[in-house]
Symmetry: none
Subunit: 184 residues, 4 copies
Amino acid sequence: MRVSDPDHQAVRPRRADARRNEQALLDAAATVFVTSGVEAPIRDIAAEAGVGTATIYRHFPTRADLIVAVYRHQVEILAAAGPELVTSADSPYAALRQWIDQFVGFVVTKQGLAAVLQSADPCYDPLHAYFLERLEPVWSGEIVAGQDPYELMRAVGSLCAGGGKPRYDARHLVGVLIAGLRRG
Amino acid sequence: MRVSDPDHQAVRPRRADARRNEQALLDAAATVFVTSGVEAPIRDIAAEAGVGTATIYRHFPTRADLIVAVYRHQVEILAAAGPELVTSADSPYAALRQWIDQFVGFVVTKQGLAAVLQSADPCYDPLHAYFLERLEPVWSGEIVAGQDPYELMRAVGSLCAGGGKPRYDARHLVGVLIAGLRRG
Amino acid sequence: MRVSDPDHQAVRPRRADARRNEQALLDAAATVFVTSGVEAPIRDIAAEAGVGTATIYRHFPTRADLIVAVYRHQVEILAAAGPELVTSADSPYAALRQWIDQFVGFVVTKQGLAAVLQSADPCYDPLHAYFLERLEPVWSGEIVAGQDPYELMRAVGSLCAGGGKPRYDARHLVGVLIAGLRRG
Amino acid sequence: MRVSDPDHQAVRPRRADARRNEQALLDAAATVFVTSGVEAPIRDIAAEAGVGTATIYRHFPTRADLIVAVYRHQVEILAAAGPELVTSADSPYAALRQWIDQFVGFVVTKQGLAAVLQSADPCYDPLHAYFLERLEPVWSGEIVAGQDPYELMRAVGSLCAGGGKPRYDARHLVGVLIAGLRRG
DNA sequence: GATGAATGAGCATTCATTCAT
DNA sequence: GATGAATGAATGCTCATTCAT
């Protein structure tokens, strides 16, 4: 998968209808990704958004472009909670636990996002970089002596990717993983 | 995924060539699953086995039937190492570490198996049950106070499913997870 | 365009229905090529033949395979007339004129064939070679001192490709071309 | 192909920017036709010209309109050389040879133009008429006793359309054709 | 039982054309 | 007039599954 231009939505001024469509597409894709995963047919996403298929290609030339855009948008929301927690919590470790709770709670409901975090496909590098930028301030203080944050992020993604099923509590497992790291 | 009859291959007496074909199919599928994943085209597996596609359907009506059969077969091999380790190692924890090393080493080279372990699809229940039967004697002594072994198995599967990529050491991460459990 | 296996129809023994389908495909393709050219949609050819689209891909993995097969078959018929003429005509030149008449008459009614003759795409090399093998005995005696037969064949293809239209007599023009060569 | 109104660009007075755009379009189309042929995507031409796609439709309602306009424009340049040669060369035949050399050299570099010359589509009638008007004075003196000039022009187009490939020298073949005509 | 031929639904992608801005 | 966003039909190709031999 290639990402043709990760920032394309930032550079051009756009017509109002185009902007509206792009938003509709992001919402539709987010919805479809939940039910059908990130490999859902383009047609389904187009139908959900109420646009033609070619409109998706105009806005997001490759599937990776769309995926990145969908989650970048959602991560913006998630990211806001991070720094705030660091300062407000009783201890760095408490901050981390709360953040992890929120983070996992968020990721678990978006199976697509978990898959993206788990993946090593270079097309997600921008999104991964973005994630790391936000995660590191929160957890680096307490945990990762000698632990590659990128690997940790992928591990969290992996554990969450298995979630949403009975007898599998991703939040708990991520907690265990974090606890294991702390000892190191 | 549905499994039509998990034990179908046990009930009927069979012709010699049928039995030979089934074995060829299991070997072929194992090979193909490694390179192309468990979703590999039926044709590829048939070609690898040197049989017609319909022969696969006769032996394994659904894809899940085949997957289960393939890994059940491979687990037979893996399982042998377990009990032996428990008795020979210096301590239960040492036995566990060694077992985990072997186990992860095994799973990581079969991405298909990792996916199967990660999955909660009921069609894998027989395989999961089989796995747990073998795993529990090994690790239950040392670790899982209050930890659902099934969940743990799926977690290991998840961590391994993300593996085989640069900057991601599944063996290390599973070790961290185990370490985290031990403290609990 | 690639030709995966120009001789694939010769190597395997085949089931009767497969052979029947292949013939139906060749006939259908020949028909469709006349009306829609060699770039006609696969679906149209499949429909004309009364088969599914995938059947075409089974028999002729690439479009070039199909094109070559269609015309190779037709050339078999054409080729028969060649050697016979050489011996029966009054003079080599007379033989050539008659042959050219037949040849052009044949090619002109298959616009697809003309296009194939005109093309330099390497995928047609086998067909071109086949053509040259048949053409050279007929015309080489009289004409082509220093004339590359391959170029001549392509020229005839070009002149015929423009044919089938009012105020354009490919037969006449090819005659003129041949006359021009004779002087050389 | 239909040409909606071959002279539409002559009837209306126009804004300066419209005229500028039209010229930019002709240049852009000429460029794109060379590299991608006359069937190149409208978008490519618009991009090359730096205008929107709809602008092309405004100026040239059908693709044929654009093609005709492009080559009419280029023929203007070519035509200038014709009469001049007739008077300056040593003999009518020498003039013809030189003219053919120039002509073929020109056409061969514009595969689109060759295709247009080869075609009998009525939409090109105006362009064909225009061509004949210029060609006839040059070659009619020496050659075409009983040869329809229109047919000859299309033949030259056909021979050139096959060109630009290895082992195919359109200039040579057109020379052969002309030589053949001379004898007649 | 085994075979592999046939099927046709499903999907990504391209592109001419229209239309709101 | 100019723009470029939206449209959706068209097409190549893949693959699971069925069925005649």
